[in-house]
Structures are given as C-alpha cells and as structure tokens.
Amino acid sequence: MRTVRRAAGALLAASAVLITSACSGTADKNEDAAAGTSYELTKQTPAAAGDIGSFTWSIYAEPSSLDYAYAYDYPPNQILANVCESLLRWNPDLTTSPNLASSFTNPTPTTWVYKIRPGVRFHDGTVLTAKDVVASLRRHMDPAVGSAWENTFRNVKSIDMTGPLEVTVKLTKPDAVFNQEMATSSGTIESAATLAKAGKDYGSPKGGVNCTGPFSFGSWASGQSLTLKKFDGYWNKELKPKAGQVKFVFLSDATTRVNAFQSGEVDGGWMVPADAYDQLGSSTAGKLYFGVNSTVAEEIVGDLKGPLGDVEVRKALLMAIDRKGIVKAGVGGTGEIADSLVTDNMWDQAPAADRKAIIKDVPHYPYDPAKAKEIAEKAGVKGERIVIATSPLDSQTTIVAQAMEQAAKAIGLDPKIETLSPEKYSTLFTDAAARKGIDLFLTFWYTSITDPLDVYGSLETGMFTNYGGWSNKEFDQAVEDASGTYDPAARAAASAKAQKIALRELPWLPLYTQPTSVFLGNRITGVQPSVAYLYYPWAAEIGAKK
C-alpha cells in the first residue's frame, strides 16, 4: 500500500541495486538447474563471540531526515530501526510481535487498545507514557507535518489516552492492516516533549531524535556519516547491543562500496550490488549472505487504453518475456521467477493448510513466445506502438527494459524504449501527467508488513498507486472484504480471491524476486539477513567475530 514511495525513493537515489525475494523463512537451497546457479538463504549468521567497540556500515544514500514521519525508504529506515521503536515489531522471520505495546486487544472491530510497556526509557532518561504514544501517532494525521504514512490512518476516527499506560484507537470501519502497520514507521513512538521542543529541527543533523531503541542518536556529519551510540538504559535485555557504536557511511557509488568492503574500511552493508555478487562471494575480506525478502520486480501497465488495454495482449506479453533469462542476466541467477505480485512469505499468516493451495492456485504464464504470438495476432494488435520507460539506474532496470522490448517484438508489437533520467522516472510514480504515453514501467515493490494487502490494496479502483487506472468490481470487493476481516483464514481467502483476479487480469506483470543481500566483513557477525532490517534493530545483534 505504501511501497511505491520506496520504489520511487530508491529509484531516485539511483542506487545500484534494488532488492527482491521469494522463498519464505527457511534456510533452504535453491537450485536453478537451467541457470546452473545456486544460492542459500541464511536465517542467522554465526553468533557474535563477544562485544565490539564499533563497526562501520555503508548505505547508498544519506537519509534526508531521521523523522519517522518521512521514513519510507531504505536509508532512513535501516538506521531508525535501531534507534526508534514502534508499538509492534516486524521480526526477521517476518512475524509481528509486541514491542513498545506489551499487548493489544481488539474489543470491537473498530477499536484497538494498546497497553504500553511500563518502565521503558527514552534516550534522554525520561519514561515512556501513553502521552508520548498519542502525540507520536496523531502526528501522522497532521497535514502540516505531511507524513508519508498518513494513508495508514485513513480509517482512524480518534487516538486517545485511556490510561497512563493505555492508548485507544477508534476506527471508522474495521481495518486489519492498521494494527500490522503499528510495526512500521506508522507506529514509531517518539517523546512528546522532544517533538514539541525540537520543532522544525526534529530529525535533522542538528535536532536528532530521542527514542527508546537499543542505540541512541550520536552525531551526524552532514553528507558524510551518521554515528549511533549504544544505549545503556535499553529495556529489552534480549536485544542489548554488542557494539558500542555504529558508524553509517553514505557511499552512493556502487563500486566505491564494493571497494570499501574489500579494503576493510567498511565492515558491512545491506543491498550488495548484484554485479558484485561473484566478486564478494569469493572475497577473503568477508562473507556475502542472502536472506528473506518481500520484494517483487514487476512491470506496471501504465496505459490501459493503448494496445495493452486488451487483457489477452497483456497475457501474451507476459508469456513472451524470458523471465529466466532476466534473472540470469540481471541478478546473476540469484532470484526466482515470480508467479504472483507478492512473495510467497506474504501468506505466512494464513492457516498452513491453505497456504500451499493459495500460492499454487494462480494462473501461470510459462515462457512460450510462439503461443504468445498467436494470442496477440488474434487480438489484432500487430504493428501497434508501445512505449517502455526505463532509466539508467542500475543494470537490472536496463536488462528488464531490453527483455520487455524483445518480448513485445516477439508478439508483433512495435516497442520503443524511452530512457528517462532517474528523477523523471520517479515522477512516473507520483504524477499522472508524467505517465502519459508510457505503456510499461518497472517497479521493485517491497512490503513492510507481512500481508498481501500491502500490494493488492494498492490496486483498488481509484487508489493513487493504481497507476494504469485499472478497475474491477469483484477485485475491489475482495480487497474490502480482506481489509475488514480480522480472522486470518477468512482474510487470506479474500486476499487470495483478489490475487487470482489480479493475476487473471494482469494490471501489473510479475517478473522475478531476489533475496535480501548483506555483506559482513571479517570483524563482525551475528546479524539475521532479512528484509525486516528496515524495522528490526538488526545492528544490536552484530558483535565481534572472535
């Protein structure tokens, strides 16, 4: 639901790699016989042998702010995850558990009551109360703040303190996603006094933040690095930091990052450039790990009035795309073909008995250019022009655009690749006018909750993120049913119905998934490789290797 921003933000930052994955939680081996490659998902790197004074971590861009209201992209989130905590917590195995809220209840379908954990201290030593929770949550609804997460609160009627350590949220209609979102930046809790005092400097290098996480904000050398310090008063003994200090360095150039890993100047980093997998996989400077992800690379059909307005043509196009080839060329075989718009692990909350069937029970579009050509011929779109947008952001985007062009040609269309500057490309996600005349564009859509509604909710009629203006009444109803249903089995069934319709109609074409990647230098170990690093205090688990 809120992921485009990240797609757009990340694309904007022109990062070398954007990430993806399939395979849920288990540490299994994925053999791709055709591509002749294999990779392993790691649940947890070897446990730390002891404490470490400090370690250095690379990020592809400097966060624009540490204000949780604007934290919707990799750079701020992977830092904030260690500093500020939310009511709930998104864990590396993609489950959600209580955090600053020690428990929560749902007495009526439109009421959520959060019990606040007692004895939690902010970094400045003050104690967390319901007042801080109310101030932090209400902030998202203040138009003057312009929170990136206001959509989470669209069904919220009121947020009030109903006890010194109790907060009650009233909704206008049942919303199953709201509670899950309390594990993201939507549910981040900051000291009310700090918010009031810092004003417009809140979250900036000058103002910093004052939260409850295992690390506190240390210093921020604008443009260069940001340092976190171990917080001795941290409430959660299980996640007590092993490092005294973490220094994040901002390195926008992918080769510079890889070099810094190899020279040992940087101890590690998330989002390893895919074209450096080989190099770092065999490096003596450290080890490359892969973990669970929630991202799917998908081609958005931006114009449903053009030749791709016919669902048969969209099907033909998808069948003509050599997705195996893209995985091989784009990410060195470290990925899987996606049959759905969400990764399989999004269904983890569904009853185990249903899960397998839901994942399997979708229309499949195997690579078959000959049959695809036939279908397209029948639809009578031969020789029609389609425009595929791309941008020189990273090797994957370029390779996908070329594969799309090839596929379109194979079914008789007349494709044209339009190369946009990164900033222009990002406007495709924000500005309907910019999408004019663009038939297809690529997104790396990641979810920040473990729920397929994160994606399917964004395809409802009229949603801002429903870029092609696709509309299907049956689909909308299924999404509404799922959103309003708290029972996991019933919600999964409704979401699965929505998924089937979406994959039958293909408003977006699913391409492939790719694991979360992390590099650890020889000095450190202990992290759990998982896309949850955006919300989970992963740095607290990193310590000395020996």
Binding site: L12, Q224, D253, T465
Partner: protein, 322 residues
Amino acid sequence: MSRTATRAIGVVSRLAGMAATLLVTSFLVFSSLYLAPGDPASFLVRGRSAGPEELAQIRHRYGFDEPFLVRYWDWLGGVLHGDFGRSYVFHQDVSSVIWSRLPATLLLIAASALLIAVVGVAAGIVGALRRGTRTDSMLMLLVTVGAAAPAFVAALLLRSLFGVKLGWFPTIGNGTGVLDRLHHVVLPAIALSVTFMAMVTRVTRSSMLEELGREHVEVAVSRGTPRWTVIRRHVLRNALGPIVTVSALLISGMLVSTSIVETAFGMSGVGSLLVTSVNQMDFQVVQAIVLLVVAAFVVVNFLVDLVHPLIDPRVAAAGSAR
C-alpha cells in the same frame, strides 16, 4: 590622471561589473529552475496519495503559488542575508547543508590547485628547457596520456591500485583531523588534477619555448648573462601571463568537476551534493550551489585581472595607454 587613480577606477568599475554579472546570473539561475519541468509540489509528497487540495496546500506553504517576480525578489533578499532557503530534501537550511560540505571540497580544490601549479608548471619548465631530449619526450607522453584521462578513470585506477591493492591510502570518506584529512585527499586530488596538470604543463612548455626563441633572450644569452637569470627574468616572467590565466580558469572551473571524484572516493563535498540535489529536484540547494560556482568563477577572474599587470608590465602599460 595618475596611474594609481586610473587603476582605482578600473578596480571599482570591475567590481560593479562583477556585481552586475552576479545579479544577472542569480536571475537566470532562479528562472531556469523555475521553468524546469516537473512540479516540485508533487515531488514533495513523494508518491503519497496526495489530492489536489493537499498539493495546493503544499504549493502555498512553500510559496510556489506566488508570482514569479515576487518569489525571485524574496529569494534574492534572503540570499543577500545569507539565507538560501530550506532544502526540500534535507529538511534543513540550505546554508547549513552547504557549509557542512564546503570544507572538504575546498581542501580538495586547494590540493589539486597546488598540484596543478607546482607539478604542472615545473614539468612544463623542465620540458621547455630540455626540449627534444628523452626527458622531454617522456614528459610529453605523460602529458598526452594525462590529458586524455578522464577523472573517473583516474579515480578508478588510483583507488584500486593505491587504495585496495597496496592499502596506502583510504578509499572513502573525508577523514578527521588535519593529517587524516590530508591523507584522505591525496588520491582524489591527483585524480581531479591529472587532466588539468597535463594542460598546464603543455601551456607552460609552449609559452616558455616561445619566449626562449625571442630576440631579447638570445641577446641576453649572447651577452653572457647567466642562464638561470635569463630564464627567470626574461623567459619565465614573460611566459607567466598565459600560465596564470589558464591555471586560474582551470582551478575555478574545478568546482564543477569535483562531483565525479567526490562520488568515487565517497567524499562528502559540494560537487556530489550538486549532483544529488539535481536528481532529487532540491531546487533551493541547486540554486545556491550554482550561484556559488558562478561567484567563484567571477571572483577568480577578477583576481587574475588584478594580478596580471603586476606580473606582466606590458599589460599594465597597454591598460593605461588606452
């Protein structure tokens, strides 16, 4: 009119010209970004589902709905007070965003300037004096290679050889403390100045050769004046004009080219800031940096014009005869 008075008037009129140039530039900079495609308001919401009402609110809050000239006037007034507005991306004052990155860039330019002036000129002098020898042809080969080496290629080579392989120099960051900063700036400065060094060497060499062939030099030599005195007094002094002009222009132009080197070495400077700001449509920051670069250019030009008559009396004479 006395010569000093003429000079003073010249300086004042030049200063006025400088101010006018900056004013015109500020207008061009402001209007060009104003005309740039893309709606900053829709960028500011960053993909959130913002309705037309919210967009209108944002436009109002940032003053996008004001008439162009009003916005320009407000901006200019701020700039004159050192207030370049607030960065959309960093949620901070533009001046503090730029100030925090300026020292690294200035150090990089200073180090490169030193390399250009010392190494470039020295190599040019040696080449001219040893014309036709093996030393000269070696130098010319290096100059050809150097002039053809783009900064990013030089950065790549230097980084992987002296940083990663040999481990002599750090490959990322600005460093802290004086010595550490200098240690960090060595490779970037070489990468940045390689091309410029080569150009200055070439200019110095040919300018020296031209002077060496002059009659008065030959006369001085035939009169038995010591060789080094001839070179210093007659050759170098006269050759210095073009050398200073070229060096100064190259150095002031360097502000623009630092971005590649800064990015390659993970340095945080104004150059890399400019690139990210352009990409992120952070208009206020882009405006401030462009204005800064132009100002640096204009000021350096002005200083060169002031210095020129001092090193080359012929220029001064020509100036007062006009």
